[in-house]
């Protein structure tokens, strides 16, 4: 009994971690995500379930990265976004909020605008891949929600990102 409890706790901790990495910076809920679903084997809604939010986050990739000051979608980012579009097209019961982020090298205002550019660049690419515009919204957090907190390029490169956060719903 004791062992089982420990394993369950470990799974919970992993689940929490995964949620943090994949979830919205503003706490926008990733609807339908099952935090218990990180255990071994197929669990409906778990990361091995291709229709799950966890699968979207972990296997397809919910984020794309950008170069300094840029909002151009790189070839690597295109691959990720194409996968996101495919998933969204196959799972019409979800909408997405695309969060644009910047690293801390820049003023607050400029970074808000830059995050807006990045989120929209990702959105435009998803639309070009057939996702209905009505299912996609954007928001910028500028430099307010870094993922990595060091002050070197190793962290900055992870912070210059657009994250696609899913929510259950049919869109507007």
């Amino acid at each position: 009994m004791k062992t089982t409890a420990i394993i369950l706790m470990a799974a919970l901790a992993l689940g929490g971690c995964g949620n943090r990495l994949g979830g919205g910076a503003g706490g926008a809920g990733a609807g339908g995500y099952d935090p218990y679903g990180t255990g071994a084997g197929y669990v409906p809604g778990g990361p091995s379930d291709p229709t799950s939010v966890a699968y979207f986050q972990q296997s397809i990739g919910d984020r794309v990265l950008f170069a300094v000051d840029q909002s151009t979608v790189s070839p690597e980012a295109r691959d990720v976004l194409a996968g996101q579009a495919q998933w969204l097209n196959a799972n019409p019961g979800y909408t997405a909020l695309i969060e644009g982020h910047a690293d801390e090298q820049g003023t607050r205002e400029y970074n808000l605008a830059l995050g807006g550019r990045r989120a929209n660049a990702a959105r435009d690419y998803l639309i070009s891949q057939g996702v209905a515009a009505t299912r996609l919204r954007t928001i910028s957090y500028g430099k307010e929600r870094p993922l990595q907190i060091c002050s070197t390029e190793a962290c900055y490169s992870q912070n210059r990102r657009a994250v696609t956060v899913l929510a259950a719903g049919a869109g507007v």
Partner: protein
């Protein structure tokens, strides 16, 4: 939560000139500091503890004296001669001054005063400023009356009068600053809007930390604060009434984000940025009539707008040339002139209240600077340099700039700093927690 200043404002009596003990000087005497001089020797002053005119005034007399001394000394323009070096005592506010006693300790300015605690919770503060070497008062004596809880404001008024008479500049100590108080780790920072006296006293908070709040800016009369808030989940320009804490979202439409707002000098208009389909442009909102005007239509980022003091022009930041630079255009939109041409990236321009300078953030070679330039872009002068300095705001007299300085790394945190426009006297401002995005309000009345 109602800030004390509003109740105090009602209670503060008009300034009442007292007859000085000697003939007041019409023109400034030899006691004078020119702030624009690059390096100056701080002027030595003495401020013996104000005379308590009755028993209840003793503690306040001491407190008021210390705030006056701190106001003046913290400018870097003045140096207090410690009280334990004084050889004379001021036993009565109206007793003749023995100037030789003050000369002997090297004091060039002497401030004397008294405090009377009236029975109804009100106090009366009197003060005189003397030029020790010419053995004469500098200006008339002054008297302030107000509530005891507003004692710090009366101290600031005294220090403001002394500062103005000696420097010839407008006062600024009796003023407030709004800012963002920050708590928590860097990747989950909690922010709320605070208001404090310019010296960090009397902090109150206007918002909870439930939503991200950014860059609050005072209205010209200090009664409202405009900021970017994520209360709805999306960034919106929001006005909060300082007295009632009532919030109103203004400008922008639901699907877009709006941010970087500032009031016009008469408080009737707001200029801000809105992002539509990834493109950020400038807009102006008439708060009375309600109409919105789009000011720019470029595909580049246009943000961080700030009005000229006469309301006729707007300085802003744009990357239309490839990297962020500063531009000036008519307040109603139209042709913009680029004004920054130095190396690096320029942002968050703020027009000085006197109209003589534009303060800005500059990013160059991996460092951030706060700088000032003339409104035609000449005479650029960097006042600071650090890992991350940004977001200058002007003291009401246009001679001091406050800004955010954030330290690097995982434990990095922001704090507020002030610096003179000469680049002298860099000082950290006292705040109870980490703080960013200061906006200096008007001189209080």
């Amino acid at each position: 939560m109602t800030p004390r200043l509003t109740t105090f404002l009602r209670a503060l009596a008009a300034l009442l000139a007292l007859a000085g003990p000697a003939v007041a000087q019409d023109s400034p005497g030899p006691l004078r500091i020119e702030i624009t001089d690059g390096v100056i020797e701080p002027l030595p002053f003495a401020v013996p503890t104000f005379v308590a005119r009755n028993e209840g005034a003793g503690g306040l007399a001491q407190d008021i004296t210390r705030v006056i001394a701190a106001d003046l000394a913290n400018t870097g323009l003045f140096r207090e001669i410690p009280q334990d070096a004084h050889i004379a005592r001021i036993g009565s506010f109206d007793a003749p001054i023995q100037f030789s006693d003050w000369k002997a300790i090297g004091a060039q300015a002497l401030i004397t005063g008294s405090v009377l605690a009236e029975g109804d919770g009100r106090i009366v503060v009197q003060f005189r400023l003397y030029d020790v070497f010419s053995e004469a008062p500098l200006g008339d004596g002054l008297q302030f009356a107000g509530t005891a809880e507003g004692w710090r404001r009366m101290a600031h008024k005294v220090a403001d009068a002394a500062y103005s008479r000696i420097t010839g500049e407008d006062p600024y100590f009796d003023s407030r600053v709004t800012f963002v108080s920050e708590q928590g780790p860097k990747d989950a920072r909690q922010k709320r809007i605070g208001v404090m006296d310019y010296d960090g006293a009397n902090v109150t908070y206007l918002t909870s930390s439930d939503a991200i709040v950014l860059a609050p800016r005072f209205s010209p009369d200090g009664s409202r604060i405009i900021y970017t808030g994520y209360e709805s989940g999306f960034p919106r320009v929001t006005v909060i009434d300082v007295a009632t804490l009532q919030k109103t979202t203004v400008g922008g439409v639901d699907q877009n984000m709006s941010f970087a707002p500032r009031f016009s000098p008469d408080g009737s208009r707001v200029v801000y940025s809105a992002e539509v389909s990834g493109n950020t442009d400038l807009y102006a909102l008439d708060l009375n009539a309600g109409g919105t005007t789009r000011l720019t239509t470029a595909p580049s980022i246009e943000t961080a707008p700030s009005f000229s003091p006469d309301g006729s022009r707007v300085v802003f930041e744009s990357d239309r040339s490839g990297a962020p630079q500063l531009y000036i255009m008519p307040a109603g939109g139209g042709d913009a002139q680029r004004v920054s041409f130095g190396e690096g990236r320029y942002g968050t321009p703020v027009w000085s209240p006197k109209g003589d300078y534009i303060a800005f953030t500059k990013q160059n070679a991996g460092r951030f600077h706060i700088g000032v330039m003339r409104t035609d872009g000449t005479e650029e002068r960097l006042l600071t340099g650090a890992f991350l300095d940004e977001g200058p705001t002007w003291a009401p007299n246009g001679r001091v700039v406050m800004f955010t300085r954030e330290t690097a790394g995982a434990t990095g945190a922001p704090a507020l700093y002030t610096v003179d426009i000469t680049g002298r006297n860099l000082q950290r401002a006292a705040t109870p927690a980490a703080a960013s995005d200061p906006s200096w309000g008007p001189l209080l009345r």
